[in-house]
Amino acid sequence: MIALTATVALGGRPVLHDIAFTAQPGQLVALCGPNGAGKSTLLRALAGLLPGLPGRDPRQVAYLPQGARCAWGLTVAEVAALGRLPHGDAAAAPIARALTLCGLDSLRNARVDRISGGQARRAMLARILATEAPTLLLDEPTADLDPAAAHAIMALLRRLAQAGATVIVVLHALDLARDYADRMVVLQDGRIIADAAPADALPAAARAFGLPVGLDTQPRLLPPAAA
């Protein structure tokens, strides 16, 4: 379980107002809302990265920032092994498990700057899985991935939540939130304006974006059957 009660101002500008947020093990929570609503700030606050808020035990909470990139040409296995830093070991088993879960067994020794964007994103995911932290915080893990890669990552997060992890994901893609999340938390102007099952929270999310909501009768991509 992870909980946070906070009001946050960054550089003198209020970003989050009176947030009270809790997530339970086994839940996949999607944080949605327009740009600038405070989603990433809420995630960083949950990760214990904001000054003035309590820090977190890095073995309990793993955090994947938006657009994380590697400054050096590390191999996929080396990136995953970074997840063991909080434990001060390089235990092979959790690293191997994380790589397998992310479908990276054949790419272990490939450099992350020489593989596709989707594969590199999975390597970053393997890094936070290798921590074996019970709480996973991910900021836009599916941004600029093709639909199949995005579905693959969401399906993996879904399985992790079902296995007992607390998974909190910032998502812009409302359809992915609707298809995979147990709970959708909608932020607007630094406030939580809806917190419910995705089907119930979707109208509030649409209002926050200023978009109409309707029933979809056109063909659309579905989550893979295995999910």
């Binding site: 960083r44 990760a47 214990g48 990265l49 000054p51 977190r56 890095p58 909470v61 793993a62 955090y63 994947l64 920032p65 994380a68 990139r69 590697c70 400054a71 050096w72 040409g73 590390l74 191999t75 080396e78 990136v79 970074l82 997840g83 830093l85 909080p86 001060g88 450099r111 970053m124 890094r127 921590t131």
Partner: protein, 312 residues
């Protein structure tokens, strides 16, 4: 790789003890212990400090162009030594020159963090470092322009070019402890540097906050490079080139480079110092070429080769 480099360092050290102004061979024990031993050991230590701090600073700042010179630490050390020389302190009390260098490096390190602000990060440190090194070189130029006489001007200029001629056991005793302490501090930074590979937020979420890593990187560099500059003058390029030489062989993980960077830096400076000693024997030169000039002459072509490999 590590074993090969260690063997190379040992071999070059042996050569360094055997080669001198008189030619090749085992000299009288006084020359061996009073001249060649301190000179050779200092070359190894100073080179190790430069190579290791280059690898640590490139990793910590996530910048392939970083080296101790970039942050103004080398400039501060040079300025400190020149100030000690300038006011005649070094004429009255010989260790004042290296002590001035160490004090300059320490002051530069403190100024670096004061200028970089409350939450130092890679970009703020680099900007503050560039400002500091500009300030240090301006003050050095001022010291040269106002030199009391042409001899002082020549002496300062020559000292700034770097070299290990006529260094004694006193120099070694003065420089070795801070260099070794700096090396130990820097070698312990591996996990913090690895964590920074994925950015400052990730490093903090892995329990390795960027500010702490960069602070220890600067303190370790100030000790190792400051003490090195204090006894050997300004020696460029070693810190910049060494990590680039090692990455193709050892991979790019910052922690994986650290021990090798210390050894490779030692080997590079031992080799350059041997070349400096051999040059008057082989070429019609009246004296040794300055060490800092040699490392730049050797280092620049390597960088050009790396630039061509990096280009797509």
């Amino acid at each position: 790789m590590i074993r090969g480099l260690a063997a190379l360092v040992l071999g070059l050290t042996a050569l360094g003890l055997l080669l001198g102004a008189a030619g090749f061979g085992l000299p009288q024990s006084e020359i061996l212990w009073q001249l060649r031993l301190p000179r050779t050991v200092l070359a190894g230590l100073v080179g190790a400090g430069l190579g290791l701090s280059g690898a640590v600073l490139q990793g910590g700042l996530r910048n392939r162009l970083a080296d101790p010179g970039l942050l103004g630490i080398g400039g501060g050390a040079a300025l400190g030594a020149v100030v000690a020389f300038y006011w005649g302190l070094s004429a009255r009390f010989a260790p004042a020159l290296p002590l001035g260098g160490l004090a300059g490096a320490g002051l530069a390190c403190a100024a670096l963090f004061a200028l970089a602000g409350r939450a130092p990060s890679a970009p703020s440190l680099i900007l503050a470092g560039v400002a500091l090194s500009a300030l240090a070189s301006a003050l050095l130029a001022l010291a040269l322009a106002l030199a009391p006489n042409p001899f002082a001007l020549a002496e300062i200029t020559f000292w700034l070019m770097g070299g290990l001629q006529d260094r004694s056991l006193d120099h070694l005793a003065l420089a070795a402890p801070p260099i070794l302490l700096g090396l130990i501090l820097l070698l312990r930074l591996g996990p913090g540097l690895d964590a920074l590979a994925l950015g400052e937020d990730v490093a903090q979420s892995l329990g390795r906050p960027v500010g702490r890593t960069l602070l220890w990187a600067a303190i370790g560099s100030a000790l190792a490079v400051g003490a090195g500059t204090a006894v050997a003058g300004s020696i460029g390029f070693v810190g910049l080139v060494v990590p680039h030489l090692l990455r193709p062989q050892l991979g790019e993980r910052p922690a994986g480079l650290l021990p090798a960077a210390a050894l490779a830096g030692a080997a590079l400076l031992l080799g350059a110092d041997l070349l400096a000693r051999a040059a008057p024997l082989l070429l019609p030169l009246s004296q040794e070429p300055p060490l800092g000039v040699l490392t730049a002459l050797l280092g620049a072509p390597f960088l050009v080769r790396i630039a061509r490999q990096v280009a797509p």
